[in-house]
């Protein structure tokens, strides 16, 4: 077992070390451009191990000693969630790795790219399989640093293709365009902001229970012990990590500018896996806390908060995406929207039990494959058109038939049009929200339906503006076979999932089937289809272009991130800088020179003239007498 674990994590890391070293040499060896193959081979080994774990490993957990004296160990858990999620991660990472061989082949920074790509994969697998929260945090921090490294991959900021936003555009005082190095900084600062409270929550759980294994802690007793307020603080701190990592409101901005990274990175980290780690962790947490059994007021508030923040983020992301004109930013906003739905659906488990978690998890899987496909197509289009905005008319569809077909299938499958893959999962989600009517009225369901309709609209818009009704684009067609292969395989996984669900081969996913035949779900499906068709024919509405600008500026949320918070921070830094200057002035100039002056003054008295001394003595005596007489003594 320990060999397997070692192989799972060390293979990708060690296989990427040669390229990292070769690329760092002063004279790059000729074979350096072939070394990425080795990195991808490392990813392949991880994939094989994760498949082995899925099919062959039956033990629930496996422990490796780490800090045994503190009851903190590496505990690997192999349950329903982690087995599927592990394969999903390793498979998508491997496939995108293959795609990256072609996509990144002329890049100037391959060592950095592959090192962080593989570190990311290992970290993600660590997060997926870990039961111990401190061990999970190692993976979690690995995700953060890899995300930062890959977003800022093109650190020279010299390629307009790597920016987000229209270059040189300003709204009031704020630049509405972002360079890769700035994108990296926004990502790491947001993530840090969430990770530290989460870290506190983990330490607090350890302090209170002496245990860090999610599946072993007696959560109900813990919540009872610390009371509602304590629960609220603890879990809110804990969820700051998932919220920032999964880009929920108001922490969504970093994900939009994360699109400054290479498209492979956007596909793997910023849609399929890393950002989903937040929702995954929340699912895992709910899986073992079993909030449907726990009676804690604090916990209930938390789940209500997650439900509505998830739904609102979903709606916000979907609406913003309808206004976006950049290929990747549109997809990023839609990712945020999907993550919101996952959160909301998982939170519904408070009232509905485990079924809501299955729905959320299967939505995660479907979304991962579909969104990764769309990103990979977008990357190919960016290569071909040398443009990151949505452009392309029917000529693109003709010349890139494969990409066109793949996009059609992926968008249809993801938007929830019956009878394609996401329809069944979305139907189950509709039912989940429908069941919440007792608690919250029709609000959750309404938000979900609105999100679904907007979601279908922007997916159709993406298809239409890139392949059918967009502006004419100049194409640079060459190569692209590996890329085409990669996204074809990726999209075919959606068909596999469809078969799994419709054929009821997977017992839990099979349960979604009956939800699809409920009239309500079908009506939502029809509405989604209508919205999809409409957007396909009318991808842009000229009369609404000002609304579109408002949306593509993300409703001016960047002001919070780039204007208000930095202003406050710099204001404090400035005050403190003045304090430092004052300290330096007083301690190193004013006080020493005051002493100097004093000493000169005292020495001035010692002139050696008797006359002067007598005057001083007489003066002192008179002064003393004067004081005495004033005091009336």
């Amino acid at each position: 077992m320990i060999e397997l674990i070692a192989l799972l994590y060390l293979a990708p890391i060690f296989c990427s070390i040669p390229i990292a070293i070769a690329w760092g040499m002063e004279k790059k060896p000729e074979y350096a451009r072939n070394l990425p193959m080795l990195s991808v081979f490392g990813l392949f080994i991880s994939l094989l191990v994760s498949l082995y774990i899925l099919f062959r490993v039956d033990v629930p957990t496996y422990t490796i000693e780490w800090l045994p004296e503190y009851n903190i160990n590496f505990v690997f858990i192999f349950d329903y969630l982690s087995k599927y999620m592990g394969v999903l991660t390793a498979f998508i990472a491997f496939l995108i790795g293959v795609y990256g061989l072609e996509y990144m082949k002329d890049d100037y920074r391959l060592g950095w790219y592959w090192m962080f790509f593989n570190v990311f994969t290992a970290s993600m697998l660590l997060v997926v399989y870990s039961d111990n929260l401190l061990m999970l945090l190692i993976g979690w921090e690995g995700l953060g640093i890899a995300s930062w490294g890959l977003i800022g991959h093109w650190f020279r900021d010299d390629d307009p293709l790597s920016y987000v936003g229209i270059i040189d555009r300003k709204v009031w005082k704020l630049n509405m365009f972002w360079s890769p190095s700035f994108g990296g900084w926004r990502a790491i600062s947001t993530i840090r902001f969430g990770d530290m409270p989460m870290f506190f929550a983990v330490a607090a759980i350890y302090a209170l229970t002496g245990n860090l294994n999610i599946s072993e802690i007696d959560w109900a007793a813990l919540f009872h012990h610390i009371g509602p307020a304590g629960t609220l603080i603890l879990i809110l701190c804990f969820l700051m990590g998932p919220f920032t990592k999964s880009a929920q409101l108001p922490f969504s901005e970093w994900l939009m500018t994360a699109m400054t990274g290479p498209t492979t990175v956007s596909a793997l980290l910023h849609s399929a896996t890393m950002v989903a780690a937040g929702t995954y962790l929340f699912m895992r947490f709910s899986w073992y806390v079993e909030p449907w059994h726990v009676h804690s007021l604090g916990l209930e508030y938390i789940y209500i908060l997650v439900l509505f923040s998830g739904l609102l983020s979903a709606l916000y992301g979907a609406i913003v995406a309808t206004g976006c004109l950049e290929r990747k930013v549109l997809l990023a906003a839609s990712t945020m929207s999907s993550l919101g739905l996952m959160f909301a659906s998982s939170a519904a488990s408070m009232w509905l039990g485990k079924i809501a978690l299955y729905v959320a998890f299967w939505y995660l899987i479907v979304h991962a494959f579909a969104k990764a496909t769309l990103f990979l197509v977008a990357g190919h289009l960016i290569h071909v058109t040398h443009d990151r905005f949505c452009v392309g008319d029917k000529e693109v569809a003709k010349k890139m038939k494969l990409a066109f077909i793949v996009t059609i299938f992926a968008t249809i499958s993801l938007s929830g049009i019956p009878p394609f893959t996401a329809y069944w999962v979305k139907s189950a989600m509709d039912e989940v929200m429908h069941h919440l009517t007792h608690e919250f009225g029709a609000l959750p369901l309404t938000l979900l339906i609105l999100t679904s309709i907007a979601y279908a609209a922007f997916l159709a818009k993406f298809l239409s503006l890139n392949f059918i009704k967009g502006e004419k684009a100049h194409l640079h067609l060459h190569g692209g076979n590996v890329m085409g292969l990669a996204y074809s395989i990726m999209v075919s996984m959606l068909a596999v999932l469809l078969i799994l669900i419709v054929g009821e081969y997977e017992p839990h996913a099979g349960e979604f089937l009956k939800e699809g035949f409920v009239a309500n779900s079908f009506m939502v499906g029809v509405a989604v289809l209508a919205s999809y068709s409409f957007a396909l024919y009318v991808p842009r509405i000229k009369q609404l272009s000002s609304v579109g600008t408002f949306l593509s500026d993300r409703m001016y949320l960047p002001f919070l991130n780039d204007f208000i918070l930095p202003k406050v921070g710099w204001f404090i830094a400035k005050i403190i800088d003045y304090c430092n200057k004052a300290i330096d002035f007083f301690c190193h100039k004013a006080i020493p020179s005051a002493f100097e002056g004093w000493s000169i003054g005292i020495r001035a008295i010692q002139s050696g003239e008797l006359n002067k001394y007598i005057k001083i003595v007489v003066g002192c005596v008179i002064l003393v007498l004067a004081i005495i007489s004033v005091l009336g003594w």
């Binding site: 760092g24 002063e26 490796i64 000693e65 780490w66 800090l67 045994p68 004296e69 503190y70 401190l134 945090l137 190692i138 921090e141 690995g142 953060g144 640093i145 930062w148 800022g152 650190f155 020279r156 900021d157 010299d158 360079s179 190095s181 700035f182 990296g184 900084w185 790491i188 600062s189 840090r192 902001f193 530290m196 409270p197 870290f199 506190f200 983990v202 330490a203 607090a204 350890y206 302090a207 209170l208 610390i226 307020a229 304590g230 603080i233 603890l234 701190c237 921070g569 710099w570 404090i572 830094a573 400035k574 403190i576 800088d577 304090c579 430092n580 300290i583 330096d584 301690c587 190193h588």
Partner: protein
Amino acid sequence: MIELVILLLIPLVVTFVAPFFNSRNATYLSFVSFMVPFFGILYYLMAGTSFEIPITKVSAPIGEFYLLADPIANAFGLTVCIVSAMVSIYSLPYMKHRFEEMEYEVESEFKKYIFLYNLYAVSMLWLVYCGNLILLYIFLELSLLASFALIYLYGYGNRQWVAVLYFVWTHIAGVLALIGFLIIAYENSTLALKNIAAISYTAWLLIFLGMLVKLPGLGPHIWLPWAHAEAPTPVSALLSPLTVGLAGFILLRIYLTDPWFIDMYRTPILIYALISSIYAGFSVFKQKDYKKLLAYSTVSQMGYCLIAICLGSYGAIALVIQYISHAFGKSILFMTAGAIIAVYHGLRDVEKMGGLHEYIPTISNAALLGFMTLGGILTIGMFGEFFILKGIVDIYEFNIWVIVAVVFVFILSGFYGFYTLKIIFYGTPKGFKTPKIDRMLDVPLYVIGLLSIAFIFPPLATGLLNALKVILGVLP
């Protein structure tokens, strides 16, 4: 047991022998003389041994002289050894550059330098093993004298003034501590740590204030940005990572001997530490000089140590780990600053830098490792933060203000780290030349960086933290 004495004697002997060799061999000799004890101490630490080696008995009130080799001393000693060894390698190309810049004759000047350097490092190594406070004070003074001479002779800017500033302030610290020690001596009629029964209010206060100057806390910190910025870089790379943190070590020793003072004044000290850390953290953003920037970051990180000591037994563990992680991280970072100075002829202004990753990728990646260590990302600093946070819950439970403040301190150190990386190494390259970098200027940085990562995984993490568990038995 006696092997430890031999291990500690090796660098001491080499201190006096090394000047007789040429610069290259002297450097290698110093390197080896610190690496040998490093492995020895690592062995003791992993084995979790704890023992005393008696040296001599002196009459009251001084008491017994002995070496105290418990896991705490081993953890600190290990750090001193590895950082000193790596910096000694790094010194060779750097000081050659510095001597040429100062128009000194390289070989003869290097003899002076290597003697002072080794004396400085070895006195810190011996300091952490001292079981007697007066012995400890002697090594403390020795390290101050040596570092003073190094700044005075080879520093930058107005170096004589800076050296005197450093000397005066650290002596204020030293004298306050000495008076405290003497009061302890007259009250307990011994200065051997194991025999001290109680430490009175005045003694505790004086030692605490002295260490506050040395650590330094906010207020008495005024000397540090100057001294650390203007010292020659290899000396900065010992001053900031090793020396100032030793104040934390002394506080910890006193705390473990008689904890009442900290236990009683826990909250005011914690508030002061938090303000100090946040203040210094914000100061970092406005610094123009890379080395001064790092110096302010030191003040902020030493605030961590002060926070940690207020947080009970887990806080004490956090203090030890924080010392190690700060030493690793900050030594890497000072060495990156020095490398930039060496290859770009004194370039220190961060506003003139930008996009440097293009020209010196190895240095840039090392700086990433350094800031990761400071921020506790994937490195040993993670445990420091973890135990500090656990300590908060142990002592203050869910006091929202303490939680918010400490979490904010941690966020801030991540922020300034990545912000600094961004403005120095990333962004549009500014048209520098790609220099040829001496491998001695970057390999040592990676050794420390990788060690810092290795320390979160077994077996190193397991050994270190199991050994540090002795602290839990002593404190409530």
